[in-house]
Symmetry: C2
Subunit: 661 residues, 2 copies
Amino acid sequence: MSDAPATKARAAMAAVTFSPSGETIEVPAGTSLLDAAILCELDVPAPCAGQGRCGRCRVRVTAGEVERRSNAGLATAEILDGWAVACQTYVGGAVAIEVPERRRETVRPHGHAVAEPESLPISCDWRQNPAVRTFELDIEPPSLADNTSDFDRLRRALAQQHGIGEVRAELPMLRRLGKDLRMANWKVSVTLEMRDWVYGTYLPPRLIRIYPGAFHHASMGVAVDLGTTSVVAYLLDFATGRVIDTASAYNKQIACGEDVISRIIYARRKGGLDRLQRLAVETINDLLVELKQRNRIESYEIHEITVAGNTTMTHLLLGLDPRYLRAEPYIPTLSAPPKLVAGELGLRANMLARVHIMPSVGSYVGGDITAGVISSGMFATDKLTLFIDIGTNGEMVLGNKDWLLSCACSAGPAFEGGGVGDGMRASPGAIEDVYVSDATWEPTFRTVDDAPAVGICGSGLIDLLGELFVSGLLDKSGHLDLEAPTARIRVRNGVPEYVVCRAGEGGAERDIALTESDISGLIRAKAAIYAGFAVLCRSVGVDLADVEEILIGGAFGQYINIEKAIRIGLLPDQPVERFKFLGNTSAQGAYAALLCVSIRQDVLDVAARMTYLELSADNTFMDEYMSALFLPHTDLSDFPSVVAALQKRGGGAADARPATT
Amino acid sequence: MSDAPATKARAAMAAVTFSPSGETIEVPAGTSLLDAAILCELDVPAPCAGQGRCGRCRVRVTAGEVERRSNAGLATAEILDGWAVACQTYVGGAVAIEVPERRRETVRPHGHAVAEPESLPISCDWRQNPAVRTFELDIEPPSLADNTSDFDRLRRALAQQHGIGEVRAELPMLRRLGKDLRMANWKVSVTLEMRDWVYGTYLPPRLIRIYPGAFHHASMGVAVDLGTTSVVAYLLDFATGRVIDTASAYNKQIACGEDVISRIIYARRKGGLDRLQRLAVETINDLLVELKQRNRIESYEIHEITVAGNTTMTHLLLGLDPRYLRAEPYIPTLSAPPKLVAGELGLRANMLARVHIMPSVGSYVGGDITAGVISSGMFATDKLTLFIDIGTNGEMVLGNKDWLLSCACSAGPAFEGGGVGDGMRASPGAIEDVYVSDATWEPTFRTVDDAPAVGICGSGLIDLLGELFVSGLLDKSGHLDLEAPTARIRVRNGVPEYVVCRAGEGGAERDIALTESDISGLIRAKAAIYAGFAVLCRSVGVDLADVEEILIGGAFGQYINIEKAIRIGLLPDQPVERFKFLGNTSAQGAYAALLCVSIRQDVLDVAARMTYLELSADNTFMDEYMSALFLPHTDLSDFPSVVAALQKRGGGAADARPATT
């Protein structure tokens, strides 16, 4: 007998039917249920991108045969009831699969939306030198004696009536030109992109819309912060230069992985990159629809768009293969994205609206950081400045107007609530603020929206860690004091933990605790970030104490309590007045580039002159990291205020002696 | 009773089923069979664009009810058999329609394909300043110590290894860049468009292809002459500058109308413009496929394309609404088309290959004429030159290097065989060369490919008209001598005619004759063209005799017999040595612009400085036209050679006295 039958059997096709959507697809036996669901474009969450780690892609097998390679996280009763981990379960024959409906999460609106012309990092002549302008034209109708073409007639009127010597138009505009001009009886308003350049060469203005008659429409721009987790869009009125509305949502790509690495892995699946690209566009489009409806503007009135995102987000939005970002030596396809219009990307704005995507510096220092450096103004200051954006990665830039040095530390998702048992994003019910009494060791806390507690978000984790340490319940190595006289500390499944909220407290449905393994993850995260500061400073021969300003940007940064972040050794122990919270610097940088054309050139210049320090190639990083794997740090002389606090509260004082590694 | 039921009944839907294709479509009752066929994209010819004039859209109704508004051209037996004129027959209820299969016509290959660097109208440094160039690169692979992005790495290598300081890339290229570079192990050849400009500003070179390893591929360009009737494509090898192959075909748009006016009418139908655009692209694509297969090259090796066509063809290729070209005051959307790449138009070349479309001057002086003026070299000469392109329209340009004046006369399709009973295009069996004995009045003729005669093409019509006139069988007003002693002249259906070929002669299946009404149409056509010459000269105050060179371009021009064309008063009676046949000047101009980048700027300059004289707005045109409505002309003093010929052959001598209008 030959092998042929076996080979044939392996390639057999099987029908997979999904409920409640009713979709059916034929796939080769052996295909994972997750892949089958993706092919049907169903919304099955896969935060770990199908690696079998997160257990969130749960589906129910209601009929047919499957092969289960893992049931990670499922109880026996659930398995008997048909529940399966979609990425670890494979089609055996015809199967029917039920996909549970997803609970939609809401996103906390971002507070510090400082976006008005006065907030620009440098003075800017946006009124004299606007990005887009609309001109009213009274065009002479054609005649046998003057049979100039429609477009040349429009050009002539622009030159004669407004001194605009040249103008360009693309095919979509030209296809409607004849009708537009005649329907309006040759009295029109034309919107032009005024300052369009390619590699330093300014091109003639570009026609993006013709309106009939006088101009009574809106001229709007949208600045987008395309974050891995959440996406924020600012609606800018070009008439006033101000942001008149903001919308935000979770990035729909979360269904394909929570962090950039998971998404890069997801992109390698068949159709994965296309789906991620589409989800990025859909996320932005939902925000555009929201802003348009609420402010009663039409798509065609959105005349320009800027987008700031990290390098992975930029690659995915553009449909660029992100695989080389993840593999050593971590190479992006490009730093400065090409010129695009909304129609090319499928964005629901004027299809000819220019889309400026902020340039990146390296695989892990992206357009969000370039935008942040711009909005912080540090690229134009004399002062030695440290700019920090803490998220899944900690990205940081050291420098001033003369030089800029950047790096990224892989902090992991701990500060965003990921990888922590009861961690969560800053949505309602997240504990965001904690105080632990050093008398009773009882906690007091506040939750987002004062909702019943459901978990702990990043700022709450920093607070809690600091409080436990200063109150003496936690030692510098991250071990809880099991002998402390409080029932809040307990051991469950062999792991010590501190229960910050018991089931029933404030309406909580279950116990919420921080375990020693959570603590260990948080310490590693803060150590990576602090080591980044140290390496940056060391590589240019300055001391952290020489840094005159420490600017905290990013969506997450604005919720950090500086004092408590210093206490755990996440931030350097410098006088509080040196720290500044800048809010969502990525969105603000996108806003600045949207309003002010000269800043667009600044962004490119900043990206080009920023040096990128690859920490995995730096010999000193690992030493610095090891030294930082303690609370607050091995070298306590760098943390005088923490030593003082420990001594004052007495708790951790016993440990406040210099440690040896 | 109200009108409502009637209105409802009118909107009722009915199914139309076509055989043999098997397509079925639901249309509102009252839809014409032609429109239904168009919606199904069936190939029903409609040379008159559904005006009920040509009778070529014949179909057979095999079942169901139709309303016939006209049966023009159908015999009663045919009507009883179900035959109907599709554009004049309307759906009454469910119907079944048979579409007869079309006979494919072949196109005569164009002879004078002079296209080599030496044929360029002005000296050109195409070797030093090529349109596209390919560079071999040995790129240093990335490392942790040098993590420059892929694109910046490629730019750096281009700068270091070839001194190309800047380069641009678009999204399709960037999407494959990472993989292309790594698959080739960082040794690649990159093809760049070297000289890309926008409104006089040169942009950095643009990346259009990456090849792995050393460059062993072809680098080709294609120059297209997009004619209303036939389309010719030249394949240019950028390595040698020579045309290595040519392909030609009828324009597929012929199914939607034979002349530009019919197509403009067709474009107003639902989906009509889209179909015309697609047919233009399909026609060019068929030629591209033919050239690629025959020369074993791949799509991606076609690196640049130029297209020359009349203004209507240019509008239809770009999908621009042509309706304003036809309505007074005859206004095109644009003169110089925007920058495009092959992928935008759907052309099967490298999708990033630049497509340069030759600019037009007015609605009836298009890119074919601009290209012709370029290829003729008249834009750079001191000599007073008249350039003529005779087709459905007679387009002409008078001038030299200092000034250029153009106009177009609507000659009608007579010289292309249209509107003449036995007229046809120059396909096999067309009588193209005629001599009539002034002794026996018997004709001698030659057909294309020496096939049995089936009709008379343009050059044959000019010959025959001149022969009949000089032999005395035809008077100056276009009347046949019914008393001449030859059976070749007869009266059929009340109309006198000359039978140039009887059924059976040389295998002809039926009689082929030229009627007095055909003759009248030909005289109107030649009068329009001659009047054009006269008005052009008069408007700048020169005499036709002052013209030093008369250049005859266009696909049709090359087959004209000068002497016989002078004899009927189509061409001015000037010494034969002043005439030059230039062959297909439109294609040659497209070739010149493809090879030589400086000529691309010349083409734009020529189009911009050429004055367009609108004859319908010119008071003297009608007088000149009326004077030319005789053979050869009212004013015989302008035709001394014709007078001499008449006197010599004796035939028409009696009429060779000055006539009064």
